[in-house]
């Protein structure tokens, strides 16, 4: 009987099966593929999310290069009013003689800005409040939970309407700020629930023993494990913000000077677009809004893999 390595410690890798090399190679190849676009590649893996990304990219390009896509100045009312779609104007003109298609293109800008900034603001507030409440627990949790619950039960849209009516100034940024400040509650609650399950893991204790401070533990150790939740939360807040802005504008609480899909619908409704047969005026902003929200929803399907390295390989 051969006695190999009697008494000496074979290191683990000595005895690893040969196929281990292959696994490593696969891994580096995967790394290389992911490195260039980073998180984008992970989202791209998922079919639904790919469709959403393409749609979102179209909206983004249109918004950024709005002057290139719009045939006319959206504010110019030099055209004949109430033109039907097609007659030199793709979607016709408004009762004031503005080009509807140009307004639609510039409206994408407004909606995306509101979505991104409002969503970021709401997510940031939700993160700080949710994570602090969940990780620290105790009295801090009790107090913060009280405010979360308070913010949850207050009906948001009337509150926003009220705030924007009293806000000093009427600009778009005021609207964004109000939306951001009112839309964080459900996100905070979700994040708190998640952190409660994560904070009892051994690796959190291990991080404390590794000398990590409070914010390092929260943002370095816990956050990466809930990144998918954060991204989903951001998408939700962005959708909410876009919808809220449109809703406010439609109800007439927005800044009528702004060109957004909401103000378009507001004017269309206000000027009796249906009565005058201007269906495109009413339909186009609504459809654009639904497609943007749909794009975000589709992207959400791929988000799970972001926070879970294991999911990326399966």
């Amino acid at each position: 009987m051969s006695m190999l390595q009697q008494g000496e410690t074979p290191t683990v890798s000595d005895a690893l099966p040969l196929d281990e090399e292959g696994a490593v190679e696969q891994q580096t190849r995967a790394n290389r593929r992911f490195r260039v676009p980073g998180w984008l590649g992970i989202l791209w893996e998922n079919r639904k999310s790919r469709v959403g990304l393409v749609m979102l990219a179209i909206f983004l390009i249109v918004a950024v290069f709005a002057p290139l896509f719009s045939p006319h100045d959206p504010r110019s009312n030099d055209f004949a009013p109430n033109l039907d779609p097609g007659s030199g104007h793709l979607l016709g003109t408004t009762t004031k003689g503005e080009d509807i298609f140009s307004q639609l293109v510039y409206g994408a800008r407004t909606s995306l800005i509101v979505g991104v900034v409002g969503g970021l603001l709401a997510t940031a507030i939700a993160l700080v409040i949710g994570l602090t409440a969940g990780y620290l627990g105790g009295t801090v949790n009790e107090v913060l939970t009280f405010f979360i619950n308070l913010a949850l039960v207050v009906p948001i849209l009337p509150l926003i309407a009220l705030l924007s009516a009293y806000a000093p100034g009427q600009g778009l940024w005021v609207v964004i700020l109000i939306i951001g400040l009112t839309g964080w509650a459900s996100g905070a609650r979700l994040k708190k629930a998640q952190i409660l399950t994560l904070r009892s893991r051994d690796y959190i204790t291990a991080a404390v023993f590794a000398g990590e401070g409070l914010w390092q533990v929260i943002f370095r150790e816990i956050m990466p494990n809930m990144i998918s939740l954060v991204v989903v939360g951001f998408m939700g807040s962005a959708m909410g913000a876009i919808g809220a802005e449109a809703g406010l504008a439609f109800l007439g609480f927005g800044n009528p000077e702004t060109i957004s899909w909401g103000t378009m619908s507001y004017w269309a409704n206000n000027q009796g677009a249906l009565v005058t047969g201007q269906w495109a005026w009413l339909l186009a902003p609504g459809l654009a809004l639904s497609f943007l929200i749909m794009a975000l929803t589709l992207v959400n399907f791929g988000v799970d893999a972001l926070g879970n390295p294991q999911l990326r390989e399966e």
Binding site: V12, S13, D14, D19, A206, E221, P224, E313
Partner: protein, 621 residues
């Protein structure tokens, strides 16, 4: 006629993005009525997949891709769910490791039994209650507990309830998949012993799946050993114990030893099971086998009759043909172990020579629990004293609830004692504030029980190891990185560059535990608290981790507090043993003395509960 017959069964996991994994390949087995069969293998050997396939409980993406399963003469390989449903629970039932968590938390115990019983019979509520009382008594639980909700029972009791539930309809066949893993040794033994008695009385057949060959051998009539999706050996339990023929079985058996011996040698099997999604040639165990001959790498051995059992090994077959019966080798196979050996001699060390690192003096801790109007006091730690000294391992042994974990919290400063002193040099640990505690953690580190939850899945190994170096040692990123690579080498993960880039899910349990140990070593602590560092690892690799810890403690002069419920591992690693029961020290002393000559009844109970298939043999010697 056999009750359960599996013939040439193949199970494949078909996933979309990865190549198919053949988790079970060409397995045949039969189980007769009333027979108690054990199925043993490491994690990843396919034993649970095989178990689930035999009772048609495979879930996607696992699929039976070949062979047949018949139960009671009926082919159930492709039987529809509608026809399987009446058979389940009544004819075939099962208990898993997590079965205790499958109890419905919002229903009292009795209601859960009633659901199961009335789904298959027309028993009245009164009859059900009588039956539940009978069943609970059978698993040693007082019938009055049937009014309780699951959260009011301990883990061991819940698992007993799960067992009673599985037996409620007097099935003919019960699949037990790691039914006691994760429970205390004492509870494990009690449940298995009880199960064996009930099984003899009611004469149902059992397939017991476990990674713990020791307990399987003690309780089964016949044992199947599985490796990489194939059965490699099948023998009656008594024969397997006397002459295991396959090198893998020998390797698994090498993990057991009598803790009372003067010199203890336990072995482990280095390496990992092969990746079953890749094509392979020859014997799958050959890369890890010390007996492998060139033939093994070329031709896969078949499972052939040898002696009274079946073995798939070229070398075992050749030996048998040459007339070298294992019986003639006597017990020599145990010293000529298959794998690497970790030997612990009884060396007379001078305990007074070592420098004291931490003193724990007369410490008590009382917890107050309020429930409704009642307040209960729990004396978690009661006047406990000990000293941790440089280069020494002190083992804290006891069941769950004995106060071990509270002591760990007190030592690390997470909890403060009600009375007594904990001093680290001149530093009073029990009086440290927030800031002081953070500084203290440079000197004290932890090794956790579950390597799967102790590593952050979002970080690579390297970035996990660099954090303590940057925080405690004030290193720059570059310095920390090169030191982290050295640490990987220290814990035997080479080449370190390769392991450093991996995420935890790309590592095996043993490798993860090595990373956890490397992280604990990073700040060059004076004390390491190891809280059950091997109990969630496969038996076959436990010795490997023990050996690593042992070497590191001695070389680097670290004082270690080793917390465990397992006296054998305490004997292997520790210089001193403290036995703890209900917060009190019942026995303490040098490891050899405590084990060789246990004074307290509780120590004797713990000692008896260690799975040791050789116990009769040792007694006979």
């Amino acid at each position: 006629m056999s009750l359960l017959a599996v013939d040439q069964l193949d199970v494949t996991y078909l996933t979309r993005k990865r190549p198919p994994v053949q988790a079970v390949r060409g397995v045949s087995l039969t189980i007769g009525p009333g027979e108690f069969v054990g199925l043993v293998g490491e994690s990843g050997s396919g034993k649970s997949t095989l178990g689930n396939a035999t009772i048609r409980l495979l879930s996607r993406p696992g699929e039976i891709t070949g062979g047949t399963v018949s139960f009671n003469g009926q082919d159930i390989t492709a039987l529809g769910e509608d026809r399987l449903r009446p058979m389940r629970w009544r004819d075939i039932s099962t208990v898993f490791q997590s079965s205790m968590n499958s109890l419905n938390p919002v229903m009292p115990i009795e209601a859960q039994f009633r659901d199961a019983i009335q789904a298959h019979s027309r028993a009245s509520n009164g009859q059900v209650r009588k039956r539940v009382a009978e069943l609970l008594t059978m698993v040693d639980i007082d019938p009055s507990f049937m009014r309780f909700y699951p959260h009011e029972l301990s883990g061991g009791m819940k698992q007993r309830v799960a067992l009673a539930l599985a037996l409620a309809l007097e099935p003919k066949f019960v699949l037990l998949d790691e039914p006691t893993t994760g429970l205390d040794v004492v509870v494990q033994r009690a449940i298995l012993e009880r199960l064996r008695v009930i099984q003899r009385e009611q004469e149902f057949a059992v397939l017991l799946i476990s990674h713990d060959l020791g307990s399987v051998l003690e309780f089964s009539d016949r044992v199947l050993v599985m490796y990489a999706g194939e059965i490699v050996e099948e023998q009656a339990a008594a024969d397997m114990l006397r002459h295991p023929r396959h090198p893998y079985s020998r390797g698994l058996l090498g993990s057991y030893a009598s803790p009372t011996a003067k010199t203890i040698a336990i072995t482990y099997i280095p390496g990992r099971p092969p990746d079953l999604s890749k094509p392979h040639q020859g014997c799958l165990f050959a890369p890890r086998c010390v007996d492998a001959i060139p033939l093994c790498r070329m031709k896969a051995p078949e499972l052939l009759p040898l002696g009274d059992g079946l073995v798939a090994c070229h070398v075992a077959k050749m030996r048998a043909e040459a007339g070298q019966l294992p019986e003639q080798q006597g017990r020599s196979w145990r010293t000529q172990a298959a794998g690497a050996v970790f030997t612990k001699h009884t060396v007379a060390k001078d305990p007074t020579g070592a420098e004291d690192i931490l003193r724990f003096e007369g410490v008590s801790k009382l917890y107050t629990r309020r429930r409704g109007f009642k307040t209960t006091l729990v004396q978690a730690v009661d006047d406990v004293s000990f000293v941790l000294s440089k280069g020494h391992v002190t083992a804290l042994v006891g069941q769950s609830g004995s106060g071990k974990s509270t002591i760990a919290k007190l030592v690390t400063g997470i909890e403060r004692p009600d009375s007594g002193e904990i001093s680290f040099g001149d530093l009073r640990v029990d009086r440290l504030g927030r800031r002081g505690l953070r500084d203290f953690r440079k000197h004290i580190q932890m090794v956790f029980q579950d390597p799967y939850s102790a590593l952050n899945p979002a970080h690579t190994v390297l970035s996990t190891l660099m954090r303590p170096l940057i925080n405690h040692k004030g290193m720059s990123r570059g310095q920390a990185q090169s030191r982290a690579l050295e640490l990987l080498e220290t814990v035997g993960l080479t080449p370190p560059e390769r392991f450093g880039q991996r995420h935890p899910h790309q590592l095996s349990g043993g490798q993860r535990q090595r990373i956890v140990i490397a992280r604990a070593l990073a700040p060059e602590p004076a004390i390491i608290i190891a809280d059950e560092p091997i109990s969630s690892l496969d038996v076959s690799i436990r010795a490997e981790i023990l050996e690593l810890l042992d070497g590191l403690v001695r070389e680097q002069g670290i004082a270690m507090l080793y917390i465990t419920h397992d006296l054998l591992s305490a004997r292997l690693l520790a210089d001193d043993i403290i036995v703890l029961n209900e917060g009190k020290v019942v026995e303490a002393g040098r490891a050899e003395d405590v084990i060789a000559n246990p004074q307290h009844a509780y120590t004797q109970l713990l000692l008896r509960s260690i799975p040791n298939p050789f116990v009769e043999e040792t007694a006979a010697d």
